[in-house]
Symmetry: C2
Subunit: 274 residues, 2 copies
């Protein structure tokens, strides 16, 4: 494939949750080829340090570059929050994380300047959303809350369940009391429990889905650079390819819960060698 | 330290849960020096493949051997179930997992031969407990149930909480209906919710704690080999040392929930280099 436009977009995540971003890219850019890498051997990143998450992310980007991609989307909030600043410094190609588009959309949406943020321990304590938001809207205030049980609850399939509702009530009580009018779903799994979250915070609070915003940002960026693919994918072509670092069966079951594809499997690669 | 008896016992786990085994070793063998390694950069193992878990375990054993240990305890059920068979084949020193002692104790405890087993996906689907039990007691039958939410619930501190009770009720309903009279807590975190589990299954069901059984087995094995330390640890000596693969703050908070020590911290090492 000589034409730069026809190259794929690389998408990576600590595991499978990033497929919610992949799904948005598919929806918003149906002509784009996509390559997904899920670091299922080292998932999750959310409880790990900046140094470790940066090292892991760098290995993945080296791998994706061997796949001849035209741009990379870090579909993982933790990687975006902890590692992307360092990685962007050295990058000679477009790379987009989910944090900036999420922070930007939240700053546009809020009326009272009180923005709630839910995510992993690492994402919340990184302070990354706060720093970005201060640049965009100095008056806005982020109130963060780590919600470590949401990912395992989603992975158990308890998307619409009294237990998830109960836990959501406990996690979000403080945010509701703070009077937020906007809530960033700062972890790729959370859009899967969007309905439960919306019911818990009430209809007056606007939910921000960084997956959606990131796909939009990616599309705009590729258009600006003249890199959007303008030819349809041919019938029968494998436009979407999946790689993982472990052969976990889990990939398939959760992938098929998120994507409307019927994924047959993913290829395992030795990510530590990159 | 020239005396073989005075060398430490190495203990490892995928994360911090294995400290429940460490705690039993401390209690049952107060004269032993102990070195703990928690693979906090790659935790959890429970959803990962045999190949990956074996590679990780081999790296850890190579690290622990550099610490001049006299024996190694694999305090992780997943590592014990998936990797220990392969590792024992090549080992020239004593190595003990938690699965064998747990299976043995369960086979002694059961009267009706129906044994429940709860653990991670990987431990349950490995079939390791079944295979071991078949050798000890061909009439016994294992009924397994993966309980992936228990570890995150414990790590959120919901040890005695209606949500944990509700989830335990769902996970264990099938086992109770099967008429088990014995239940193996096949994951290091589970002894921390022992009371909730006991209430759920009722007093007629005997709970087996592989951590306790493993410490007992380790003590007997060292005694047989003449390797039990017979001198008291000197006052002021650091008898217990802790290593991790990531500097996750989480280690400290959960470690101090499990151990009666007031752990100040752990040393981070680059486990991938071993």
């Amino acid at each position: 494939m000589d034409n730069e436009k026809e190259k794929a977009i690389g998408v990576f995540d600590s595991g499978v949750g990033g497929l919610t971003v992949f799904r948005e890219l598919m929806k918003q850019m149906p002509r784009e080829r996509l390559i997904f890498f899920g670091d299922t051997a080292r998932v999750p990143y959310g409880s790990k340090s900046k140094e470790t998450v940066t090292r892991y992310s760098e290995q993945i980007i080296r791998f994706l570059r061997t796949q001849n991609v035209k741009a990379i989307v870090a579909a993982c909030n933790t990687a975006s929050a902890l590692a992307l600043d360092d990685i962007e410094k050295n990058a000679d190609f477009p790379i987009i994380g989910v944090v900036k588009p999420g922070a930007y959309a939240a700053s546009q949406a809020t009326k009272n300047g009180k923005i709630g943020l839910i995510g992993t321990e690492a994402t919340i304590s990184s302070g990354m959303y706060e720093r970005l938001l201060k640049d965009i809207n100095p008056d806005a205030r982020i109130i963060g809350k780590a919600c470590p049980l949401f990912v395992p609850l989603v992975e158990e399939g308890l998307l619409d369940d009294p237990v998830t509702t109960e836990i959501a009530g406990r996690y979000l009580a403080g945010l509701i009391d703070s009077g937020i009018d906007t809530l960033i779903m700062g972890c790729t799994h959370y859009p899967l429990i969007k309905d439960t979250l919306q019911k818990t915070v009430g209809d007056a609070v606007k939910l921000i889905n960084p997956a959606y915003e990131t796909a939009r940002e990616c599309s705009l960026m590729l258009e600006e650079k003249g890199l959007l693919n303008d030819k349809d994918i041919e019938l029968g072509e494998t436009a979407y390819r999946f790689f993982v670092s472990d052969e976990a069966e889990k990939f398939k079951s959760i992938a098929n819960m998120i994507l409307p594809l019927g994924i047959l499997g993913a290829k395992k690669i030795a990510i530590e060698d990159y």
